[in-house]
Amino acid sequence: MSAAKTSAAMLEASDVTRTFMVSQGFMRGKRPLHAVNGISMTVREGEVVALVGESGCGKTTLARILLGLLPPTSGSIRVGGQPITGLARHEVAKLVQPVFQDPYSSLNPRKSIGSIVALPLKVQGGVEGRETRRRVEEMMELVGLARRLYDNYPNQLSGGQRQRVAIARALVNRPRIVICDEPTSALDVSVQSQILNLLQDLRRELGLTYLLISHNLAVVEHMADRVAVMYLGRIVEQADTDTLFRAPKHPYTEALLRSVLTPEPGLGIPDTHLGAAYPNPLNMPTGCRFHPRCPKRFAPCDSVAPKPLGDGGTFVECHLYDPQVAQAAA
């Protein structure tokens, strides 16, 4: 989407961090866990930006900050061009809505489908009963849920139907931005394709902007215009989807792409070339936080933290691409 480059910024994070204090066990005191560690990103109107990265690297934490559900420890957020701190809870909710991973646990089992979808309208207020029902039914139809399911309960629905309910709930008060956190990972591939098709249709029909969080790189490649790759709380590479998939720069991005198991018999299971030293966010490596697992590490990596190289939209955070560092090390 070249048009997106010039369109307005819908979601902006500037140098956002989030630290959790976690207990180390009995009598051991608490230690800071840097879940998000200096993230700046922009999602423009009409774009689909994907956020990928290892389990526990901070994707959901960032999503919750962007939704205004969790305050950042430092840094600032702008939603729809305005600072999130100047917006009331319901004003943020009118702009940006989430769709979470697990359609089984994210829906209240004691509420009917109709009242689940209607909830954002109720919270927002000012919509009368009959109008609420009309808008809910309209939205259910849009996401492919039969109206007769209005009075059913979540346990009477399949996984795909439940995820449609979650999507209808997210869209009922017409937000501009939807943050989808693993929207299909709990679903079968045959249900996944329905949901992905639906998200594409809704994007076109309603002019939505998406931030898509997913472990499934084939899904990311299919959906996203731009991709941000996270590792231990930082975005280590960001580029448009074609560039990232064709010419990944960061060694972690390379490993991620190498790990994709395309359905092609005969190719075998790839070797990731990664070390088995799993990252521990409570004990951050010095220098580049990826260096203990990196197959390409060299002299400065264990002591000097790399800086982002490139512009705001396309960059990589790796010493390999820093001519000064490479020269000094040679």
Binding site: Q200, H222, V260, L261, T262, P263, P265, I269, T272, A276
Partner: protein
Amino acid sequence: MGERVLTVEDLRVDIPVAAGMLHPVQGVTFHVDRGETVCIVGESGCGKSLTALAIMDLLPRSAKRTAMRLELQDQTLDGVAEARMADIRGNRMAMIFQEPMTSLNPAYTIGNQLEEAILRHKPVSRKDARKRAVHLLGRVGITAAEQRLRQYPHQLSGGLRQRVMIAMALMCGPALIVADEPTTALDVTIQAQILHLLAELQREFHMGLVLITHDLGIVARIATRVVVMYAGEVVETGPVDEIFRAPRHPYTQGLLACIPVPGKTRRGERLGVIPGMVPSLVGEMPYCHFASRCPIVIDECRAAPVPLTSEGGRGRRVRCIRAADVAAGALQAAGTAA
């Protein structure tokens, strides 16, 4: 290859439920030779896990298992007393579950559990058991194995726990390993590492491996042969390259059309879908189970049960009376599969 490790013929599982009798596994037939990896794929709820549990004799108490043949190497597993089964399980065949915490005991150290896995079955000393545990932890890529032995399961990450489970499954040198979604809970780089390891160990120890997953990427990359299940039945089986190149069952073809493939499906383009829902498995269904969702269904499909018939050579079998039409592109003509 050659030596037959597992023979499953007409395996059935019945479970009484409130609505009547549930038939989650209805006549499953397949076999595994030494050195082979057989992948079982299919939609959630189609009976993959129950098939695995039935082989291991670990079904829930209320479930009833029957089979024409169920053999591990040359020994029948049908009608074997629990004491005898307990001797076979973990010894000559082992299972790896999706969530390692369900099979690791939080109260015992990793070392203790690994050692017990062999002490229970073989006349070896604790010292030798420990030696084997250290050796196998090394083989599954766990460094500082001596120290790891003293740790408890909750002190390890998900990826490490799954490696421990693989080491435990290998302790007695089994002829067969059954792995049920062994990497579903892990992220992609760790998934690739674990699968790489599993494939390597399987070759090295010349075991038979049954791997259950609904990830077609995993299947393509690791399987020797594939068993596709739908609603309790095997609908198609054969060598992995043939199944992916020329699927003969409408369900297999539909499944392959659902997944985005970088470089093949175009960005933003519609993906294939399989409209409709899986039928209930309560009660009898004496006709094609896929009929209600099949884009090329004809009256005959609903007239009688459809047998699993041989299609050409190489052990290819398909449960569809229109298999030849599917191969000739009937679904594409019907405008469904991409």
